[in-house]
């Protein structure tokens, strides 16, 4: 038995230390030196305080801002401590009701046009933290944001253009707009008075 148990225990302990301590610590060290910003979460700092990450979406409900994907995270939308999707099946009445509610909110906030509603604006993301919307979803909101902020729609359109990213190498993934980055740029261009408490 000793010829089985001794190698089993000792090989397990040694390989554990190698793959569970040495390896992750080595990657941590390499990443900290070579890619310090990415390794710590691609954080955005303002006056030394972290105010977001370029990779993690935030909840936007103010009509002055572009809105992101619906988020189904537990304990409120865009809860970074509980990522996840709605897991609603396609036939589930709860899904249809949720989508109807989102359509109503979008139509109420954007009364002036009757384009079909971009699918990503009414269907919840997988992580609940999706930082992006499709270019069509941004275009849908340009008129509203421009009029609320007293800007020329062309100006806002140009800003959306500047924040639109194509699919990677034209081959992978889908074109997208980073909502947090877009709204931060909007705030620089035309700050909103904090009139509503």
């Amino acid at each position: 038995m000793n010829t089985l148990i001794r190698p089993a225990v000792s090989i397990f302990v040694l390989l554990s230390l190698l793959t569970g301590a040495l390896y992750p610590l080595a990657v941590t060290g390499i990443a900290r030196v070579l890619f310090p910003e990415q390794a710590r979460g691609s954080l955005i700092f303002e006056e030394g305080r972290p105010v977001g990450s370029t990779l993690i979406g935030q909840s936007f409900t103010d009509p002055n801002d572009f809105w992101g994907r619906p988020s189904a995270t537990a304990g409120g939308p865009y809860n970074g401590a509980a990522s996840g999707g709605s897991n609603l099946g396609p036939l589930n009445p709860t899904l249809v009701e949720a989508v109807q509610g989102r359509i109503a909110a979008l139509k109420a906030a954007n009364p002036d046009h009757h384009l079909p509603i971009p699918g990503d604006l009414v269907q919840a993301s997988a992580s609940g933290l999706d930082p992006h919307i499709s270019p069509a979803a941004a275009a849908y909101q340009v008129a509203r944001v421009a009029s609320r902020r007293g800007l020329d729609p062309k100006q806002v359109e140009a800003l959306v253009q500047a924040h639109t990213q194509g699919s990677d190498f034209g081959l992978f993934g889908a074109p997208r707009v980073n909502v947090l980055a877009l709204n931060r740029a909007l705030d620089l261009l035309a700050p909103v008075e904090p009139s509503t408490p």
């Binding site: 990657v27 390499i30 990415q38 691609s42 990522s83 999707g85 899904l95 989508v99 993301s125 081959l171």
Partner: protein, 574 residues
């Protein structure tokens, strides 16, 4: 299917096959002890390990000894993961002070990671300390993968050797695969992922002030950003076809899979070693065409499933288009904008065929036919590429079954690779093939009959049944993905699924090793006029047919009750 989807699939296949060829050659050199350069680099470490552990690397094992070594090694792994979870609050590297985990959940997770399943009943970011993630889960990501490869290599030796009593040394195989294959590949991939934005640190979670403050009452103007050593785990999670996410959202989380490029690399990592192992097999049995034939059968089945999944997900949910929603982007419920429906459906196909179980989209919200594809992929037995090692040994079991069926049809004694297939071999093959359907169907039947099982259902109707069927299919085939609406973190599911995962893994490994032992002991026959050639298109078709037929016969009734009914209802509801 869109042009983008076709291009994506084409590039994926091209890069995969290009990468598999050299890796397959390297792996063959490695397991036969011929890999010169790496052995020179790591030879000192390897020799030191054997010295410390009292292993004589020239001493070979018979199949029973090999199986006992594998079982003992994996049982130790499960015990270690269990202990780390139960004591994590008293151990270091727990900046969030996450509590100790309940016995049933800890049992489930320990078995899950030791069996390469990586089913997750828990929410990573609010449950597991950094120490548990690193020293428990990351370790098992390596060692369960090494286990699968070692068993596959033992089976290859069974075919390649003749009149031999032994099939290799399990300690040497496990150590070499970990040191010279998994660690270097994982290191490379982890550094690349970190460069793209996958986080890698040991900091406490960050609390940030969000841009909208006054109006977003739900979040009260702050957001918690989880941190952790993610890239190191993400890399081996894909390469070892493990699939257990650092975070609850798995590879949909931007900190695990930030860009479409990382998504492509992660998809590639899943199939890389399983594809290479086919070619390794060809080299070890001394006829490379044999490896290509197996790889061809896998590739053809994969392409069919990928095209099916990408096409149906692109069509979207008809109930939503009836509401005036533009569905040109496909079904986007439970999908990320940066991936879109095509890259998500391709990922879903790969991860379910490969027994990986990582997800970049929520399979529970797929269209009924999209969900059907993911279920069916697992039901094929995880042999189309499959898990690292387990995919190949599973497919070789089907290959023996295929030559046996062909032998029955033409009335000759079946043989494969010069080995006569006899009653004992077919018994082991049947055992290996039948153990998973038995676990899936019995488990599902129990769960739908008891209140504790039905209580977990999230979606009404046929979809609720699919959630339970998916859970047991995933557990028994060691996949690990889920129709995640199912509330499975309960004593009932944690216990039952834990047992199913263990039996689904080792209930196959032990007969496979027994088969390997008996094959190695046989004499090698020269091919005669009556030998069925196993390297041509005819055999590829026969092999595909066997895999599909066995999958179909076992599961069609269960599938009819779940996704098929749901599809018909969705079509009539619009």
């Amino acid at each position: 299917m869109t042009l983008h989807a076709w291009q994506l699939l084409g590039i994926y296949l091209a890069v995969l096959l290009l990468a598999a060829v050299p890796l397959g050659r390297y792996l063959a050199d490695l397991v036969e002890g011929r890999a010169g350069l790496t052995r020179r680099l790591g030879g000192g470490v390897e020799a030191a390990i054997y010295r410390l552990c009292g292993v004589n690397q020239d001493e070979e094992m018979d199949w029973l000894r090999y199986a006992l070594a594998i079982l003992a090694f994996n049982a130790l792994g499960a015990v270690s993961v269990y202990a780390l979870q139960r004591w994590q609050v008293w151990l270091p590297l727990n900046p969030q002070q996450l509590a100790n985990i309940s016995p049933d959940s800890a049992f489930n997770t320990a078995v899950s990671f030791a069996t390469n399943t990586n089913w997750q009943g828990y929410t990573g970011e609010s449950t597991m300390s950094y120490l548990t993630q690193m020293l428990g889960l990351t370790v098992q990501n390596f060692l369960s993968a090494a286990t699968g490869i070692a068993v596959a290599v033992a089976l290859m030796r069974g075919f390649a050797r003749h009149t031999s009593a032994t099939i290799g040394n399990a300690w040497v195989d496990l150590t070499r695969v970990t040191l010279y294959l998994l660690l270097p590949l994982a290191l490379l991939s982890a550094v690349f992922l970190a460069s793209q934005g996958v986080i890698q640190n040991l900091d406490a979670y960050q609390t940030i002030a969000t841009l909208e403050t006054a109006v977003s009452e739900a979040t009260s103007g702050t957001q918690t950003l989880p941190m952790g050593p993610v890239a190191s785990q993400e890399a081996i999670k894909m390469l070892g076809t493990n699939g257990g996410g650092f975070f609850n959202a798995n590879s949909a989380h931007p900190y695990e899979n930030p860009t479409p490029l990382t998504n492509f690399v992660e998809m590639l990592s899943i199939f890389l070693i399983p594809a290479a192992l086919c070619l390794t097999f060809g080299r070890i049995v001394g006829d490379r065409r044999q490896g290509w034939a197996v790889l061809a059968a896998m590739t053809l089945l994969f392409v069919v499933m990928a095209v099916a999944a990408m096409s149906v997900e692109q069509q979207g949910n008809p109930l939503l288009s009836a509401l005036g929603v533009d569905l040109s982007g496909g079904n986007l419920e439970g999908k990320e904008t940066r991936f879109g429906s095509a890259d998500s459906a391709l990922f879903a196909t790969i991860t379910t065929l490969a027994s990986c179980g990582a997800v970049n989209s929520m399979h529970d919200s797929f269209t009924p036919l999209g969900g059907l594809v993911t279920l069916w992929n697992m039901m094929l037995g995880e042999v189309v590429f499959g898990g690292v090692g387990s995919g190949l040994y599973g497919m070789l079991v089907f290959a023996v079954m295929a030559v046996f069926l062909a032998g029955l049809m033409i009335g000759r004694t079946p043989e494969y690779l010069g080995k006569k297939i006899e009653a004992h071999d077919i018994k082991m093959v049947s055992l290996a093939i039948l153990v998973t359907p038995l676990l899936v169907l019995l488990g599902t039947a129990i769960a739908v009959l008891v209140p504790a099982g039905v209580a977990g259902i999230a979606n009404p109707g046929a979809h609720g049944f699919s959630e339970i069927l998916y859970a047991f299919t995933s557990a028994a085939n060691n996949n690990g993905s889920a129709f995640a609406g199912l509330s499975a973190n309960t004593p009932f599911y944690n216990t039952l699924l834990g047992i199913v995962m263990w039996l689904g893994r080792f209930g196959v490994i032990v007969p496979v090793l027994a088969l390997a032992g008996h094959l190695a002991a046989k004499k090698r026959l020269a091919a005669s006029a009556g030998t069925l050639p196993t390297h041509g298109p005819l055999f590829v078709l026969l092999l595909m047919g066997t895999v599909v037929l066995v999958g179909a016969l076992n599961y069609v009734p269960a599938l009819a009750l779940g996704p098929v009914v749901e599809h018909l209802m969705l079509q009539s509801a619009r």
